[in-house]
């Protein structure tokens, strides 16, 4: 019974959420926030593989997300719907039900290949020089897409809503929440299996001492390749989901600011802590959304108390003042993130029993 309890809990949450969305017990806004949370979880856990477990400083994560988003959206629009630019659909629209998950995975593979831009230099370079390569890679990817007029260039690319609509015509369930949930659970599971396997421990070994790892028969170059490709591939999957959730992508929405968000989530949760990454992704998303409501409330309060001049409105721009401030303060009080290098089960030992049973 205990052995399956965690899986049963996950399944119950998934099914419960999907049913709630389907019967419109939760409104559109909550659904979107939940999906965004899932995407953020994928982003932060996948970046944690490189930045946390391997100890590199990769700060161009959004670039790979961008590749995944564009490849999957172009493919899905090309294959499953009639488009002004690409002409009629190449496959019947009903195929979208199977096709879209496949296309999102293909986006992930493409992003993993783009990860090679970063992975190959990492054989020779470490630390801050690698950081610059990742930033440059982010700029290069965005700049490339902005120069491709066929897919909209800087104006962005859309049409994915029609594909999702076609999926809903075939079978009327909330497809995007389902896909995001499945993607989130699968990617966290994959990362957990990877980093706790004997093979995957190689990346922690590289983090601690590369030379010693090499002597202990860890193929460091191959491990770096695997870690970077896994990380960027999952970022690509997150990008594909993001594109299909919003139905619109724009190169500038994957700029260095988005990468910064990913970095914040990783370091807030703690380097090398998977549950920390999940937790911080959830907290970060909720914090952004909470500020959206808190700021107008603060504004009216400040006006009632005459703390600010009447002509001045505290607008949404304060969100990005308060958010960094909160993060800076968090860093001062917990300089190793929420969890440090620990997992949730280290704080709550009773969880460990479940986890260990799960491993069997």
């Amino acid at each position: 019974m205990q052995k399956y309890s965690f899986k049963a809990l996950l399944l119950a949450i998934t099914v419960g959420f999907v049913l709630a969305v389907h019967f419109q017990l939760v409104d559109q806004y909550v659904t979107t926030v939940a999906m965004l949370m899932g995407i953020n979880i994928i982003l932060s856990t996948s970046l944690n593989v490189v930045n946390g477990y391997m100890g590199e400083f990769s700060c161009g994560h959004a670039g790979f997300m961008c590749v995944g988003a564009y490849v999957s959206s172009v493919l899905s629009v090309l294959l499953f719907t009639k488009d002004r630019v690409f002409g009629p659909a190449l496959l019947p629209e009903e195929f979208a039900v199977i096709g879209v998950p496949v296309v999102i995975l293909i986006g992930g593979v493409a992003a993993a290949l783009a990860g090679l831009i970063v992975a190959v230099p990492s054989f020779k370079t470490r630390g801050d020089y690698l950081a610059i390569i990742t930033i440059a890679a982010n700029y290069i990817i965005i700049s490339c897409l902005e120069n491709m007029d066929v897919i909209g260039g800087p104006r962005g690319f859309q049409g994915m809503k029609r594909v999702v609509g076609a999926m809903e015509d075939v079978w009327d369930i909330p497809w995007m929440p389902v896909l995001v949930l499945v993607g989130t659970i699968l990617s966290v599971w994959a990362i957990r299996r990877f980093v706790s396997s004997t093979y995957g421990k190689g990346i922690s070994a590289i983090c601690q001492d590369e030379v010693a790892a090499e002597i202990m028969s860890v193929n460091t170059n191959k491990m770096k390749l695997v870690a970077f490709m896994l990380s960027s591939g999952l970022a690509g999957v997150a990008g594909g989901l993001f594109a299909h959730v919003y139905g619109y992508v724009n190169p500038q929405s994957f700029n260095i600011l988005k990468s910064t968000e990913c970095l914040v989530m990783v370091y807030l949760g703690g380097m090398g802590s998977l549950s920390g990454s999940v937790l911080s992704a959830i907290v970060f998303t909720l914090l952004i959304e909470a500020l959206r409501f808190a700021i107008p409330a603060l504004n009216s309060l400040a006006h009632q108390l005459h703390m600010v001049p009447a002509s001045y409105e505290i607008g949404q721009v304060w969100k990005w003042v308060v958010l960094p401030l909160i993060l800076i303060l968090t860093m001062q009080f917990r300089p190793e993130g929420f969890m440090g290098k620990k997992e949730l089960s280290d704080f709550f030992p009773f969880l460990k029993k479940f986890y260990q049973r799960l491993e069997d």
Binding site: T125, Y129, I132, I133, S143, V321, P335
Partner: protein
């Protein structure tokens, strides 16, 4: 041929901006091994401080009668004032955000993230307080065009280039010839042995931040004199680019940052001269990536030796 020389002067001017900012990155990095990602935004703050100082001296706030000072006098007064005020901002960041973390022994990358957050805070705080309307920097210097055999150069360009070279020579002198420069190099060599030698490590770090931020303020002043529109995000992109320039030069090395800044500017201007300007970032960064593939530690960087 004239266009060619014109472009060379443009590249020299942009290179001076990049170099001035990259020097700040490299100084802090050289001493603390900290990528101070807030540096681009300190440049932006410097530009805003320059704006307020200049308009104050022009008499916009009613303290000084308009017309008390002439343009060149204002420039001469505003440059030191801007540098001092900007370096106060830099030192404040160090004291409030970085030093507590350093003393708690946090991982280096957490300090980097804090720096990123401080940058966002400066950017958006500025946007929230001063509003989104762009400000226009007043014209302080009368534009004089020198022409040398068909090549025309404005006095401003010469000022910018001269300032960059002067700052470089000054920093090079400080780091290699003075006692405090020796202390800076020593800290980057071994942070644990230095306090034992009786060197006040925090004072040296504060001095480093004063130098770096002060020159960012100078860069901000010169930048808004050349391109007189201020907006809160002006520091972000130029800061990232200057960081890239510093790394390509070999981060932690003064010469590297200086040459890296000029290299980036020459590549950018060269790309724009030949290709459509939308390809500028793409090709410029590709070239820099190739340089890093060829020399993984930058032009002047020392290869890191790994001890077993």
């Amino acid at each position: 041929m004239e266009i060619f020389f014109q472009n060379i002067f443009n590249a020299l001017q942009w290179g001076s901006f990049y170099a001035l900012i990259a020097l700040g990155y490299t100084l802090v990095y050289g001493v603390l091994l900290l990528i101070n990602f807030a540096h681009g935004d300190i440049f932006m703050v410097g530009a805003y401080i320059a704006f307020f100082v200049a308009t104050f001296l022009l008499g916009s706030y009613g303290v000084i009668d308009p017309g008390t000072f002439t343009g060149p006098v204002i420039v001469a007064l505003a440059i030191p004032a801007t540098m001092i005020l900007t370096s106060l901002v830099g030192v404040a960041l160090e004291r409030i955000a970085y030093r507590p973390l350093r003393e708690k022994g946090a991982h280096r990358l957490y300090v980097v993230i804090t720096a990123l957050m401080c940058g966002l805070l400066l950017e958006n705080g500025n946007l929230a307080l001063l509003g989104a309307s762009r400000k226009r920097f007043p014209d302080l210097l009368e534009k004089t065009v020198f022409s040398l055999g068909g090549i025309s150069v404005t006095n401003l360009k010469i000022l910018v280039i001269a300032a960059a070279i002067g700052v470089f020579l000054l920093l090079h002198f400080i780091v290699t010839r003075t006692k405090i420069g020796m202390a800076m190099r020593a800290i980057s060599y071994d942070k644990f042995a230095i306090p034992l030698m009786g060197i006040p490590i925090n004072n040296v770090i504060v001095f480093t931040f004063i130098l770096g931020s002060g020159f960012a303020g100078l860069a901000g002043f010169l930048f808004v004199m050349s391109y007189p529109v201020l907006d809160p995000y002006m520091g972000a992109i130029i800061g990232w680019k200057a960081f890239i320039a510093a790394v390509v030069g070999g981060i932690g090395d003064i010469r590297g940052a200086f040459l890296g800044g000029f290299l980036l500017a020459f590549v950018e201007i060269g790309v724009v001269a030949v290709f459509p300007s939308t390809l500028r970032d793409l090709l410029a960064f590709s070239v820099l990536l190739l340089i890093l593939w060829w020399k993984p530690t930058g032009m002047f960087g020392m290869p890191q030796t790994t001890k077993i």
